[in-house]
Subunit: 430 residues, 2 copies
């Protein structure tokens, strides 16, 4: 890939040498984790190809469109209302933040005691090895957590950054009104940056575009609920991850094609793991590419991860935007309503999330929950206390894992996962 | 003290045995740190007495008033609008959260990776050794940080807890309007809890009451700006701490009495440290009683802490509530205006704080800044990056200390402080 895109990368001011190191590492990591999987669906070929072109072809596509005036908005969080971004005639992409690679660069500026996702994204902008950052005309942040909120201040010194404030009690009347005003302010900002007016027609079309994407991901998720699951946890996670990078229309089509194949598998009783393999839901912090650490450890034990209760997972696609009218303002309100239902741990209280995990455990016939917290993420870490209690009340085994992006604790996690699976096996026999 | 108040403590469901251990430890700690100080102002006698009665006489006073129907509202943060609490005919007190003593109890429930202040307060409620918690009819929390926000959910299972949402960009129009509605909702809550209506007269009177308290603390602060400082850093901190526990009217009078004495000291050129002692400002996280760790270490080196840029310090008293009208609503708006000027690191961006530290460095003729972060406090930790840069630009030496409530790192902190003072000494000679 390196030779083919070198001029493109130079044009967006990337650190070519450092980026080559990253690309090689990524390629090897993906090759060793994803490609040896047995009995993968054929239609995963597309997603393999996306990964191979994730720093190449997709970046070319975005920059070819930029040359024609189409802006790119980079984001970190499912609270960035992408419907508005597409309605403004821009592309939206998720920014890099899932690799240990950029953490040492970040730690030259930031405190070490921060969540790895935050250090990773800040480091990627500092060291200029994320082509999505380098292709973004605007970064949109949100006040979901203290760490991101404060690091956006430093990020804004490196790239134009706009922060949407998210109310933390989304169900109060004042919270909803405030959020509506924040969404409205973001619409105005997007119009400024793109030079395009957001119309009701455009917004309706982009709501449909993104709803279709969410529906395809929900369809895939529902297929993973079958036993045996027709697709691996690693592949399920990968598709959730790619949803933040790919063109939404093409991506939706490809996910639906895959789902057609998976439906046939379900009819034929074809799965990717043993029929009695333990079924695990991972609940907690988002996993950005190439954070495949927990999934690869769990999968190596023979268990199947059947769902990610995560922003890179169910929290992204469970609800749709459902307009109750045709005016821009009514559409904005529909966006506020949808987004305020996303059960992020930044909310207080966040009982909706506990209900959601309980419902997922039922739908997915889960044998256990792995509660996944990135180090120093207070929101998910503390909320784990309540989730743990709720799972105990339902007699669902739960394992809490707090980790970062380094592989140093992988053997320890493996041991804990194995012990957890023994508990599950014991429970099944009893 | 134990014998005299044992019935009172039983009546508020305290763990008498555990509380005795705490009281003995506190007494010894205070005795060893505060009482040996040389040349203390005479009027510190009152504050010594307050400390000796902080779990006794003051608790009796509050509960005697409770017996007559006066409610107690417990709080953690300078964003809890105490003017409203007093206007509702209730007392407001700061809750315990400054001691390592209760941290192990908290860690039986909470993740360890949390700020010590949060673990401390939650543990104090769990183990029933904080008489202020035990005397509170309502606890008022705020969404200033992720950790507190999420732990209030757990705290609300143990004691009635009401959470005010604080906008994190206080200067936007929607932020101000939202805050106003939150303050209004808190007013209604207080009226429910106390059974008293908050009137314009009552609110004006309580605004004056609290303004007077803030003025007295500002007067004390200004006196500490003299060289040599007429009062020690430990004593200055103690008075800031006691301001959250004592009756505001009596406290104001006693602080003003002390200031009269200090004014005379200033005239006479009397100080508590050598005239050329290095002058240090501590900037950062709040220090609740009995968190005297950093001050005692610094003071032992011969340096003087002249100001706390802290919620237990300048952030509490710098601005007054300044009504621009006589109606309840106008008074509520004045509260919103005042509180939105408090430069908490929860705000983004928070340039006002950097300007404030720069101004304090000038006013207090500071030789250096010790930037103080409680472990796992992302807001203050990340904001330290910007403060550090601002201090470098002004050529003011800064030392960053991140610590908890244990004494395990005290020798290491002492070594770092000594090295820092050598840098300052070198700079003065140059």
């Amino acid at each position: 890939m390196s030779e083919k895109y070198i001029e493109l990368w130079k044009s967006i001011d990337m650190d070519i040498e450092k980026h080559n190191i990253l690309l090689n590492a990524l390629g090897q990591f993906y090759g060793s984790i994803y490609l040896p999987q047995k009995n993968r669906p054929q239609k995963m070929d597309y997603f393999n190809w996306v990964v191979s072109e994730v720093h190449g072809g997709r970046i070319k596509e975005l920059n070819d469109q930029r040359a024609l005036g189409k802006k790119v908005v980079g984001a970190f969080c499912v609270y960035a209302p992408e419907e508005l971004v597409f309605a403004a005639g821009a592309n939206m992409v998720g920014l890099c933040g899932g690799a240990d690679f950029s953490v040492p660069d970040a730690e030259a500026v930031l405190p070490r005691n921060l969540c790895p996702l935050i250090k990773s994204f800040y480091g990627f902008r500092l060291n200029r090895t994320c082509p999505y950052f380098q292709s973004s005309d605007l970064v949109v942040g949100e006040t979901t957590c203290d760490g991101k909120k404060k690091v956006y201040e430093l990020l804004s010194e490196l790239i134009p950054t706009y922060v949407i404030e998210i109310p933390h009690r989304p169900d109060t009347q004042q919270g909803k009104e405030f959020w509506h005003k924040e969404v409205e302010a973001f619409k105005i900002k997007l119009e400024e940056v793109t030079g395009n007016k957001i119309t009701a027609e455009g917004l309706k079309a982009s709501i449909e575009l993104i709803n279709n994407k969410r529906k395809a991901l929900k369809r895939l998720s529902d297929l993973r609920a079958h036993s045996p699951s027709p697709i691996s946890g690693l592949d399920g996670l990968l598709i959730n991850q790619i949803s933040f990078m790919d063109d939404p229309k093409r991506f939706t089509e490809k996910v639906n094609n895959l789902c057609d194949e998976l439906e046939q598998r379900v009819k034929d009783g074809v799965g990717v793991a043993a029929k009695n393999a333990p079924r695990i839901i991972v609940a907690g912090c988002p996993m950005a590419v190439p954070n495949w650490k927990l999934h690869s450890i769990v999968q190596a034990t023979g268990a199947t991860i059947v769902s990610e209760e995560s922003c890179v997972g169910t929290r992204y696609f469970t609800d749709l935007v459902e307009p109750k009218g045709d005016s821009v303002d009514e559409l904005l309100w529909a966006i506020v309503e949808k987004y305020s239902k996303i059960p992020c741990a930044c909310f207080t209280p966040n009982d909706r999330r506990i209900q959601s995990i309980e419902a997922l455990a039922g739908q997915f016939k889960a044998d256990g929950i792995i509660y996944y917290t990135l180090q120093n993420c207070h929101d998910y870490n503390v909320e784990g206390v309540k989730v743990d209690r709720a799972m105990k009340a339902k007699d669902i085994p739960m394992l809490k894992i707090e980790t970062d992006y380094s592989m140093g604790d992988a053997p320890q996690i493996q041991t804990r996962v194995e012990a957890f699976l023994e508990i599950i096996a014991g429970k099944k026999q009893a």
